[in-house]
Structures are given as C-alpha cells and as structure tokens.
Amino acid sequence: MAETALTNTIEPPARPGGWRGIAADWSSDQRAFKNVSWGKAMMWIFLLSDTFIFSCFLLSYMTARMSTTVPWPNPSEVFALTIGDKRIPLILIAIMTFILISSSGTMAMAVNFGYRRDRVKTAALMLATAAFGATFVGMQAFEWTKLILEGVRPWDNPWGAAQFGASFFMITGFHGTHVTIGVIFLIAIARKVLRGDFDVERRGFFTSRKGHYEIVEITGLYWHFVDLVWVFIFALFYLW
C-alpha cells in the first residue's frame, strides 16, 4: 500500500509495484473483485465454506477407513451389479457419474443461452439438467435400497468394518441432499425463465429484488460444484 492511499488523494496515486501493487489491487475502491456481482460473490464464498464441510466428511471417512482393524469391504464387489450373468463392478456408479457429468454440460449450455436471452432453450436445458439430477438421485435411491436389502446398515454390514455403512450413507446422503436441492432450484428458476421474469425484471416474491439472467449462472456454479464433489466421492469412496 502506498502511504497516500491512507490520506488525502488530490492526485490519483502512482500505481505501486510488486506486493504493494497486489495489495492495492485487492483493496481497491468499492469492489475487491471488479466484475463480480454480489450474488456471484456470495455463491463462491458459500461454495468455499461448503468445500470445507465436504472435506471434513471425507477426511473423517478416510481416517475411519485407515484406522480400522477390521477389514474394509471391497467397494468393487459391494457395488457390482449382475447383468445377464456377468457381475460388473461399479457399473451403476459409473453410469451415475456419467449422468451427473453430462448434466454439467447441459447446465453450461443453459448459462450460455441465458445470456443470449433465449428463454425457451435456457429453460429446456435447465429442465434437462434437473432431469439428469433427478435420475442421479433416483439411481442413488436404487443403490441404497439394494444395499439395505443386502443387510447394510449404518451400524453394521455383513462384510467388515461397521464404519463402511455409516460413512456410505452419511456421505452419499449429504451429497444426494445437495443434488436434490439443486434440482428444486433448477426447476424453480427454469419456471421463472420460461415465464419471462428476467426479461421484464420482475421482482422476486420474497426478496422483492429485480431478477436477472445471471441467476442461471449462479445456479450453474452450485451445480458444477456438486458435480465436482461427486468426482471426489467417486475417487475416494468407490475407487480406493
């Protein structure tokens, strides 16, 4: 920071270099992140906080898995499906992962069409994303049912360490809740897009703020994040 920034600035101060320049840019007038709207900044910071939640969950799970004295059930066997007469490891999870990643693609396209103010395409793509998300949650429900029928419980399971079931239900449950919330948001906002709320800047019911197409991108940020988290869960829970 240049000394002058603290006091009267008759002349705009010369731009400082090096570290001072970095500090000056970050602390600059009015906004720290220049082209970032309030909503987007808020979503990014929320996601940072949420990252810490998921990290704590995953680290706790990994601690349990590494310190258990009872063997950990083998995920590729537990999460295998018999199709025809072949047992294919992790097939359901692979499909779920594929679906969720595809949904990120449709979401990105929705954001693009949103900024072009193409109401119908934006809404359609958001609904497609929501449908992918709902399918994902549906398949997760199937997986839960299957495991529960095989005797997996949060406190016990037939194959080994009890923490297996506990971590599985907790982590996938928490992530599934995130996906479900995302689906609800997507549908709600798709409805607003379709109705043309953002073209006429209609005011929100609760907030009485004017709506903008940017909300599509903000929803997208959340959605991509939930997707990214799944990649970590996939790698650390299923592939390990």
Binding site: L6, T7, W38, C56, A162
Partner: protein, 591 residues
C-alpha cells in the same frame, strides 16, 4: 449504472454499481419484527444474545456458589454441576459472544462503516436471525426435557457425551447438537452477507485499506467462522448419528455397567480434531472483532490516529490464518503422537508475534495521546490488561511440558476466562457504551456506567486472578466438590469463597448495566449525531439514529482513512472520512 462523475478533486473514480433498491417495509410487522434492515436485525440479534447470556451468567453464579461453599447448596447435585458448566460454556462462547459480535455488531456497523445502504442480501440476513432464534429456543428447551441439558462439558467429547452415565444423555445432547447445527446454518446466511458487503458493496473512495479496524476484525472473523464452523457441523452430525442411529464414528469398543456397548471401532480423537479445528479459530472469532473495536475506541478517545494501521491489518489477517494450524494444542494430553505436540507448540508460539504487534500498537497509539477516560476508553484499557494477562498464561500453556501438568486444572479455566471471556466482554461493553448514542440518539448514564465498569473490571480480576494460583496448586476443573485433598490447603477454600462472593457482585453489576440500557433509552442525555467527535463514517449519517437506507439521498464519498485525529493545521480536532480535502488540510494530513 447511475451517472456518477469522476471526482477530479480527490481522484475518486465513479460508482461501479448503481443503486440497488431497498426493501421498503409496508407495515409494523415488516418494519420491526420481520425486518430486513440490518440495523433492526442487529438489535434483534443483540437482545437475543444478551438474554441467553443472562442464563449463562445465572449458571455461573450457581457454579460459583457450589465451588465457594461446597455442601451448603444441596439443590446443586454433581450431575447438575456438570450440566451447568456445559451450558454455561456453550452459551457464553457461541450463543452470546459469537452471535453478539458478528450478528449484533457486524450487522449494525458493517453497512454504516463501509458506506452501504444495507447488507447485500437483506432477506437472507433476516432469515439468519430467525434461524439463530430457533437455535436458541432449541437450546433453552434442553432445560425442560427429561434428563435435562447435556453434561459432558462444552467440548461434548465422546464417548462420554453420549454414554448413559452422563447427565442429559437421552434428550439434552440430541437437542444440543441440533441447536448447534441450526446455529451454523443461521450464521452462514448472515456471514455470507457480511463478507460480500465488505468486499463488494463499499462506497466510493472506501478502499479496503481505509476501512476502520472494527470492520477488518469482524470481516476476518466472519471469514474464519465460515471456514471453521463446517468442522463443528460435521462433528455434530456424526455425533448425532452415533447417538441416534448407533453408528460408531467416534465410539470405540466400550464396556458400560458391565455390558459391552453396541459401539466399536470409532475414534474419539477424531472428534477432538474436528472440534478443535473449529474450537481454536472460534477463540479468534470472538477475539478479532474485539481487537478491531478496541483499536477504534482507543484512537477516538485518545484523539490520535491509530499507530501502524497497515501492521494492524496484516496482524489481524495473519492471526486469522495462523489460527487454523494450531488446534491440537488443546490435545496435548489426548494421546497424540509427540511430534504433533512439537509442531503445534511451535505454531502456537508463532501466533504470539502478530498478537504482540497488536498490543504494542495499541500502547503506542495511547502514547502521548490526549486520553479521555470516558467509559468506552476505560473498557478499552481493561481489555488490554486482561487480554495481555490471558495471553501470557497462553504462552505457558502453549508449551507441551508446561501444559501437561496444568491441563484440566483451574489454571486453564483462569487462562481462557481472561483471554476469551473477560477480555472480549470488555470489548462488548466498550462497544456498547461507544455506539449506543448512535443507535438510540441518547447517551448511557455516566454514573451507572462508571459503577458498572469498576465493579466488572476489578470484580473479574478478583474472580479469575486467584484462580491461577488454585490451578497451580493442582485444583482440578469440572469438579463439583474437591473434598479433602493433601495438595489443596484449607486456605484455598477461603479463597474460593472470596471468588464466589466476587462473582455474585460482578453479576449484580451486569443487572445495573441492563437497567442502564433501558433507562437511558428514555431518560438518557440527548447525544446529537457525533458525541465523541469520531471520524469514521457511521458517525456522519444525516440522521441519528440512522434512517432507512442509512444515508439519505446521496451515498457518502470517502476521501481519507478513519483516523484523522488532531491533524496539524486542520480546523477541528478530527476530520470526518467523507470531508473533501481542501486547502491547508490537503498538505498537512496523514501519518
């Protein structure tokens, strides 16, 4: 975009964001109850926090009565004593101090100090308060359920917290964890608002390096809280699952009443790591706002600019960052790997450096200042004394070899009360005496205020200073009654009785304070807009108390930092942040 010209005189660029329309309340309900105005939300937060704080205060009386006069108060049985310490600790740390500093001071001061009309998302801000209130209601409900509140200590360590020997095991602990989860959700909604408001919604000319230190303290604390509370959330969820579903995240194989429990294979140490990853930053979540408030109080009431502003900012940020890598100094006796103790002792002692920088800069700000011993200034001085005291014993406890024998003695209780109990409370009081005139338009009563200060400050010393000595004797903490022991001499019991009497007197002084708050609202002296002659923006509002939208028609433009006091050559003894530079002043000002 509104059309705002570049201010050529001061080189201040035009507004980057146009005015955002405010929510305008339509009825009494939306103005005062379901209000979206940060100022009203701040007052709601503060009243709720102080009310629940009174519960914690009463609990501390009961504990002190028991400790001071063991055997006299038969209605306090050992289980209840444990429930009292648990609820007292939890309420004081989270539901009082965190909520009051961030939800109360944060909501009131941030928009005013950065020159905004409100928080960026007022609706979410309102929800934040109502979820917090719900958390408090759930917390209070633990007193009325069968079995009463939890009794495992505010740290809620498993396995003890959820085993059947512990009081409050059936309902209390479940509701406690639920309440914590609600608190975190509510806090997150508010916290996102505070952070984004500071980063993205400042008025023209308000660079981050011109913010008053109060905002820096609250801002950094909020960022920390957003990163630390997740660990508590996860720990609470997992403990709740252990208790409700019988999972064994934290529960090892155990024999209870001769029976093998259903648990097995979990790690109690994991809980401690999660808890303290939250718990240590929490100490600074209540300390950093206090640091900020104290810096501002000292500067205003000593009529001097803050010494080393930039160092102060960096020290706040450095403390915030470092406090995420010291958590295991609470676990020296938990059975960690000894090398961990070495690492965490080192990082802990490193934190002393930025902290000491802050203390030195406060003292140097006072140095040859025109010190007015107003009530806020008295509290600020008391803060420095108690904080240094608690910080020094913190240096003791940060070293493994010293901590091991002192751990779980009254020495620890004395240490943390000094550093995160009394010191932040002094900042709270100082802040309230300082800003009450802005909030209500009236001064708090001077005589009652001085009485409150001297009794609280000297009384707090009378309670907690002797406690260090008891701790060194080896008197354990969390004991209902230590009975006859070889190592605690009889005189220690007299000391205990003395401390308890002091605690009752201090408690009484708080009632005087509450009375003062209400009385002055109606009968206090008219304050005018800027009774202390303060330079920062919140004192320059067109109306006092600030109206809806804070600033009337035009947002203020900021030309200087918040500490232009006693500037040589200036007309008055302070220059408000929004006063355009002119003539003489332009050359003379600044550090």
């Amino acid at each position: 975009m509104v059309d705002v010209p570049f201010d050529t005189v001061a080189g201040i660029p035009p507004a980057e964001v146009g005015e955002v329309d405010l929510y305008h309340p339509k009825s009494w309900w939306t103005r005062y109850v379901f209000s979206q105005d940060a100022k009203v939300i701040a007052i709601q937060y503060s009243i709720t926090a102080m009310s629940i704080g009174m519960v914690a205060l009463v609990l501390s009386w009961l504990m002190r009565l028991q400790l001071g006069f063991p055997g006299t108060f038969s209605f306090i049985d050992p289980n209840q004593y444990l429930q009292f310490i648990t609820m007292h600790g939890m309420i004081m740390v989270i539901y009082l101090l965190t909520a009051l500093f961030l939800g109360g001071f944060g909501n009131y001061l941030i928009p005013l100090m950065v020159g905004a009309r409100d928080m960026v998302f007022p609706y979410v801000n309102m929800l934040s308060y109502w979820v917090y209130l719900l958390a408090v209601v759930v917390l209070v409900s633990t007193f009325f359920v069968p079995g009463g509140p939890p009794g495992a200590g505010w740290t809620l360590y498993p396995p003890q917290a959820i085993l059947s020997g512990t009081p409050g095991q059936d309902w209390g602990i479940i509701l406690m964890l639920a309440s914590l989860i609600l608190f975190i959700i509510g806090f997150t909604m508010g916290g996102l608002n505070y952070v984004v408001t500071v980063l993205q919604a400042r008025t023209r000319g308000m660079t981050l390096m011109r913010l008053p230190l109060t905002v820096w303290g609250i801002f950094t604390a909020t960022v920390m809280a957003l990163l630390a509370f997740p660990a508590l959330l996860v720990a609470s969820v997992m403990l709740l699952l252990d208790r409700l579903l019988g999972t064994s995240f934290f529960m090892p194989t155990l024999v209870e009443m001769g029976q093998l429990t259903k648990y097995g294979g979990g790690s109690p140490i994991l809980f401690q790591h999660l808890f303290w990853f939250f718990g240590h930053p929490e100490v600074y979540i209540v300390a950093l706002p206090a640091f900020g408030i104290i810096s501002d109080l000292i500067s205003v009431h000593a009529r001097k600019n803050i010494f080393g502003y930039r160092m102060m900012v960096w020290a706040i940020v450095a403390i915030g960052a470092l406090s995420f890598v010291v958590w295991a100094h609470h676990m020296y006796v938990s059975g960690m790997h000894p090398y961990f103790g070495f690492f965490f002792a080192t990082t802990t002692l490193i934190i002393a450096i930025p902290t000491a920088i802050k203390v030195y800069t406060w003292v140097l700000t006072l140095w040859r200042g025109d010190i007015h011993l107003t009530i806020p200034m008295l509290f600020a001085l008391a803060f420095i004394v108690t904080f240094v005291n608690g910080g020094l014993t913190g240096l003791f406890l940060g070293n493994v070899v010293v901590d091991v024998p002192l751990s779980d003695t009254m020495f620890v209780v004395a240490h943390f009360h000094m550093v995160m109990g009394i010191a932040p409370i002094m900042a709270v009081f100082g802040g309230i005496y300082h800003w009450y005139p802005k909030i209500t338009g009236r001064m708090l009563n001077e005589v009652l205020g001085r009485f409150h200060f001297w009794v609280s400050f000297l009384g707090a010393y009378a309670i907690f200073f002797p406690m260090h000595y008891l701790g060194l004797l080896g008197m354990p903490r969390r004991y209902h009654d230590i009975g006859e022991t070889a190592f605690v001499p009889a005189s220690a019991h007299d000391l205990n009785a003395f401390m308890s009497v002091a605690a009752l007197i201090v408690g009484f002084a708080q009632l005087v304070f509450l009375f003062n708050l209400v009385w002055s609202l109606f009968k206090g002296k008219e304050a005018g807009g800027n009774p202390w002659g303060a330079a920062s923006l919140e004192w320059q509002t067109p109306e006092t108390p600030p109206g809806h939208g804070n600033w009337g028609k035009e947002l203020p433009i900021v030309y200087r930092w918040a500490y232009d006091y006693s500037v040589p050559g200036a007309a008055g003894d302070f220059v408000p942040q929004n006063e355009p530079p002119a003539g003489l002043l332009a050359q003379g000002a600044g550090p």
